[in-house]
């Protein structure tokens, strides 16, 4: 446990040592802020629910996907390229500890990156005339789902990063894979309306967000994402281990 914490702290500080972390955060928050403004002005004409105001913008989700790709692409690829993975994995630490620590660090960085968007809630509260106009349940469930989806995408991104020593290859794999998951419902035509379509619909993050931002709590996506996280982290550990039997 101690080892995981040491590795976690190193990884998290590594994010803040690189300019990429700040650029990612600034760009993400700028775009998220602008699309929030756009939704606010849109709400002058038609009434929008609070969940839609916070999470209803596709641009916001595009930035989430891009940011997660950037956060995760270097994690293993860079250490492989520079060879530091060798000194890391010949220290008395297990491969599982390394993956767990790096995952936790990426997740915390993602949470830090998203945290300032919570200010939008304060802004909304200040400008909402009546108390009953503000329902906090969709806010809480919405953020919970954002974190859960983010956690799953990060696990996938780490897996993509473990496959290669090139950050660009890792980024493309991660971005492609995450996008397919996120927009899985748009591929429903592949299932010809049958069982396949229902599976794709079930996988789609867009559908989950629509539910959760309305305060509807469904346990199925929770199970889906948690098992997905476990699966891809396990796969990443196995890929790291594969140096042993290649």
């Amino acid at each position: 446990m101690m080892v995981i914490f040491i590795l976690f702290r190193r990884q998290l500080t590594a994010y803040f040592f690189s300019p990429m972390a700040y650029v990612t955060m600034v760009v993400f928050l700028t775009v998220a802020g602008l699309s929030f403004c756009r939704l606010i002005s849109q709400s002058m004409e038609e009434s929008l629910k609070i969940g839609d105001l916070l999470f209803g913008s596709m641009l916001f989700w595009l930035m989430v996907i891009v940011s997660i790709t950037l956060i995760t692409m270097q994690v293993f690829a860079e250490e492989k390229r520079s060879g530091t993975l060798e000194s890391l994995l010949t220290a008395p630490v297990t491969d599982t500890q390394v993956v767990a620590a790096k995952y936790a660090a990426a997740l915390v960085f993602f949470a830090i990156m998203c945290a300032p968007t919570a200010l939008y809630v304060v802004v909304l509260r200040l400008f909402t005339a009546t108390l009953e106009g503000m329902d906090l349940v969709p806010v809480v469930t919405g953020y919970a789902m954002l974190m859960l989806i983010g956690a799953f995408f990060i696990a996938f991104g780490l897996f993509a990063s473990s496959l290669t020593r090139s950050q660009l290859v890792s980024a493309m794999l991660g971005f492609g894979g995450i996008s397919l998951f996120f927009f899985a419902d748009t591929f429903q035509f592949l299932g010809h309306g049958g069982f396949g379509s229902r599976v794709l619909d079930y996988l789609s993050s867009v559908q989950h967000m629509v539910d959760y931002t309305q305060g509807i709590v469904d346990t199925r996506p929770v199970v889906l994402y948690l098992s997905g996280i476990v699966f891809f982290l396990f796969a990443a550990v196995k890929v790291i281990e594969s140096r042993q039997w290649k």
């Binding site: 590594a14 040592f17 060879g83 530091t84 060798e86 000194s87 994995l89 010949t90 140096r243 039997w245």
Partner: protein, 334 residues
């Protein structure tokens, strides 16, 4: 039996590592005793790095077993890694950290308790000469310091065994000298296995050298013994002033002399064998001491002159070329 195992730091038996299409290490067995400085010598691609990676648990062997301090590297990997300080060939460091920060991170990672941390840090910085750069950012250090930080990292948890992969590669001559000196000093406290493709380095630093070629150990002995083993009969070189036609038969008749050859002298008249001139003779003897004394006596009796009488030194380079060339021929005719 127990004390026997205690003396062995590394025990490798029938180690084989196959990659998809190549055999990197082919049925290698060796032992390293506690306190030894052993060098792996071999051309690039001989299997040095792969062997070291298996010893440190980074790669798994295809066949064979490796014990470090009596522990199986595959089954008790973490225990083994605590006992090993490993410096990979590329010396991977995090360039954005300061030297102190990096060493602290590595120390904590390798389980150095917090209360001992400061003392350990001071120790290795002192040993590796890093006190001047402790607050510098690693990415801005010169290659020599970079190497020393890597070495300090491998020492930080006070391991029993140091495994150093090409520790002097890419350094300038002064830095090489400093690092070799450092390794020799470390040899008093640690068991060291290092790899190199520079023969003089192995000769200077190591007590024992293992020559690795195409994944096999083709020789293992002290540098001196290796040189003695493969230079054939010891040779004496003598430069004698006298008529070649007279000197040559007399040299051949000396006791203990196996073969004599004459290298044409540098003097213009050396060509004429019957006239006295400076000639260089290469005398292959069974035992060099006797040959030298006998040569001197012979020259004195004939009242010729002598301006050089030396034992021809061969270095590991010759041994190495000799042995690997042999391997080459074997490889061509399987």
């Amino acid at each position: 039996m127990q004390s026997d195992t205690d003396k062995r730091m590394i025990q490798v038996s029938h180690l084989t590592k196959r990659f998809a299409s190549t055999v990197a290490i082919d049925d290698v067995s060796f032992e390293v005793q506690r306190g030894e400085i052993v060098g792996f010598l071999g051309p690039n691609g001989a299997g040095k790095t792969t062997t070291m990676r298996i010893l440190t648990g980074y790669l798994a062997a295809t066949e064979g077993r490796v014990f470090i301090d009596g522990l199986d590297v595959f089954l008790q990997s973490l225990e083994v890694r605590r006992r090993i300080g490993y410096l990979p060939e590329t010396v991977p460091l995090y360039p954005e950290l300061r030297v102190d920060e990096y060493l602290t991170f590595r120390a904590r990672l390798k389980g150095v308790p917090r209360r001992k941390l400061r003392a350990r840090l001071e120790d290795v910085k002192e040993m590796c000469g890093l006190n001047d750069v402790a607050r510098r950012i690693i990415g801005q250090l010169s290659r020599g310091y970079w190497q020393r930080v890597g070495l300090a990292d491998s020492l930080i948890h006070d391991p029993e065994l140091l495994i150093l992969d090409e520790p002097t590669i890419g350094l300038d001559p002064n830095q090489i000298r400093a690092v070799r000196e450092l390794i020799r000093n470390l040899g008093r406290r640690y068991t060291i296995l290092l790899s190199t493709h520079i023969l003089s380095e192995a000769e200077m630093v190591c007590q024992r050298v293992m020559i690795l070629h195409r994944g096999k150990i083709i020789a293992s002995d002290s540098p001196a013994a290796l040189m003695g083993l493969f230079q054939g009969n010891p040779c004496v070189v003598a430069e004698i002033f006298g008529p070649r036609d007279a000197v040559l038969p007399q040299l051949k008749n000396l006791a203990g002399v196996a073969r004599v050859s004459c290298q044409v002298g540098s003097e213009p008249l050396a060509g004429a064998g019957s006239l006295p001139a400076w000639n260089r003779f290469r005398i292959e003897a069974v035992r060099d001491e006797e040959a030298r004394a006998a040569v001197f006596d012979m020259v004195a009796q004939n009242r010729w002159a002598l301006r050089e009488l030396s034992v021809e030194k061969r270095n590991l380079e010759d041994v190495f070329v000799h042995m690997t060339a042999q391997g080459e021929t074997n490889g061509d005719n399987p």
